[in-house]
Symmetry: C2
Subunit: 296 residues, 2 copies
DNA sequence: GAAAATTATGTAGTATCAGTACGTAGCCGG
DNA sequence: CCGGCTACGTACTGATACTACATAATTTTC
């Protein structure tokens, strides 16, 4: 069995090819590794390069470049360039764009945008579709929905609560631990509790989830990691994001969580059908009138 | 002057090529339009096609395909495919993935992710870098920072407030209009007020911004549109997003605003230097200890 | 520790494909 | 109806990705 077949066997068709290349770097042939390094050190340059130029950059022969492409699961150099372009559209992955104190505000902006978009792509590819369907199902049937979260996750909970017109039923968001316990205690079978925690380990959130479950409510967890919270939920929506390699890198998981909330609210609104949609349209219109003010 | 030079003149090097193609469709030559339609109707297919195949799909000759590529500002077919790949990495742009009631939760998820990422890319390309630098400057020097916002923008304000350890000074977030007026009245020269409004027209936010400015505070506006709020601010951070074509499409601007807040807080933290970084590290560590709980 | 087998890498060649020069057909104004 | 211009397709060329093969390096086995 050759190296090529071995490697490409466990490389999926999708996914960030630059991440793949970086991950597989150490298992590659010596010359392939040179190519890999050349690409990682300046991916954008490769986009506008031919095989010959890439080979020269890496200090290897042209076929080696092709072999490298095959080794990481691409179908030739062209295919590789296309996938590389897709990776770069999301920005250079985070691991290679660590924020340092030497960065100007604009460099920080670029890196954070890159990081956010790459992470969202990551989360998208990992979101459990079956769990999503079940979550929507539970929310559509719920006579009442409560959101729980602390800190940054509390922000997400409040954001979700503001979308209650889309959910179509009374929604609450508790960010105080005492309130959380009280509300969770009052939940009934059929009600849905959405427990949000980026870390997946926040103690009181886990306890509230358990409490809600004991009372018969369906508990949906939105979390960035496997862990205690995931164990305590009926339905787990894992919003996995790239690893947080640097203390400056802001917590991306809350943004992924917000997107998940968007998805849930939209999917639920759709399921509630036309009648509900009409009233929602009216609401949105009224709100925009309320907000707007004449230009001075 | 030929059509080509005319068009490519106002097409930037970056930006979503699929959006560009769609925007320019009507100004194109008859045959080029055929190519454009073929591409828009199935962009992914083009990625794996040669010039000949594309020509056949569109029902035109091969050079016409090349001419089309040049017409929309690309440097040949290869360059076009690369850019197309980048566009598709962000997902098929929103205008072509309108959410309908027939969509399954997973289709909704895909579309919302696509839409969010495309919009973030959009916002990134449009963010005013000079304004960003000035905003960071003002925040670094501020002895006090206040965030103002209503509704969804209120969520953003609270999120920003939670980042006060990074800003390094007392931060407040007001989401009640009376509170907002009170706090804004008490601001002093040098203080920074950050007024957030997705629409850019929220009346009370505009008034608070004016009030803060009258008191000598520097007012930074984070808004999705030009408008009254932008006019009332010293520094405007425009987080332009794609047009909201559909009532189901969730408000993306709040996510763009959150990313901007991430950028501001990170850039400010970097500028505050090492000493401050240390205390921030400690804080983060303590917090994670507080949060964590043993696996049951 | 040496020879054989296997893998890794470069050389030379080929088929394909993008891009170009040119010629003809359609279109408009005079 | 006829010159001037633009739009489009045909035929061709240059370049580029990919393949077949030979040699060098490395590991394996006795």
């Amino acid at each position: 069995m050759t190296m090529q077949t071995h490697v490409s066997a466990f490389v999926g068709g999708t996914g960030n090819i630059l991440e793949v290349a970086r991950a597989l770097r150490d298992e590659l042939r010596k010359s392939d590794r040179k190519v890999c390094d050349a690409i990682i050190s300046d991916p954008r340059r490769i986009l506008s390069s031919t095989v010959a130029e890439t080979a020269q950059l890496a200090g290897v022969s042209q076929p080696t470049v092709i072999r490298f492409c095959n080794a990481i699961g691409c179908d030739g150099f062209q295919d590789f360039k296309l996938r590389l372009a897709q990776s770069l559209a999301l920005g250079v992955p985070a691991t290679h764009s660590v924020i340092t104190d030497a960065d100007s505000p604009n460099e920080v902006a670029r890196k954070i945008f890159d990081y956010t978009m790459t992470s969202l792509d990551w989360a998208r590819n990992r979101l459990d579709s079956a769990a999503l369907v079940r979550a929507v199902e539970a929310l559509v049937l719920a006579p009442r929905i409560e959101f729980f979260g602390f800190g940054a996750s509390g922000i997400v909970a409040m954001d979700a609560q503001q979308k209650f017109p889309m959910f179509g039923v009374p929604c609450g968001a508790e960010i105080d631990s005492h309130q959380q316990v009280m509300v969770a205690s009052l939940l009934k079978p059929g009600d849905v509790a959405v427990a949000i925690s980026n870390t997946g380990t926040t103690r009181s959130t886990v306890e509230v989830a358990k409490l809600a479950r004991e009372n018969g409510a369906t508990v949906i967890g939105i979390t960035g990691n496997e862990g205690p919270l995931a164990d305590a939920c009926d339905i787990v929506l894992l919003t996995e994001t790239l690893e947080n390699t640097n203390i400056y890198t802001p917590t991306i998981s809350r943004i992924a969580a917000l997107v998940v909330v968007d998805i849930l609210s939209t999917a639920v609104a759709l399921r509630r059908g036309e009648a509900h949609v009409e009233s929602f349209k009216r609401m949105k219109k009224t709100l925009s009138q309320m907000r707007s003010t004449a230009r001075i």
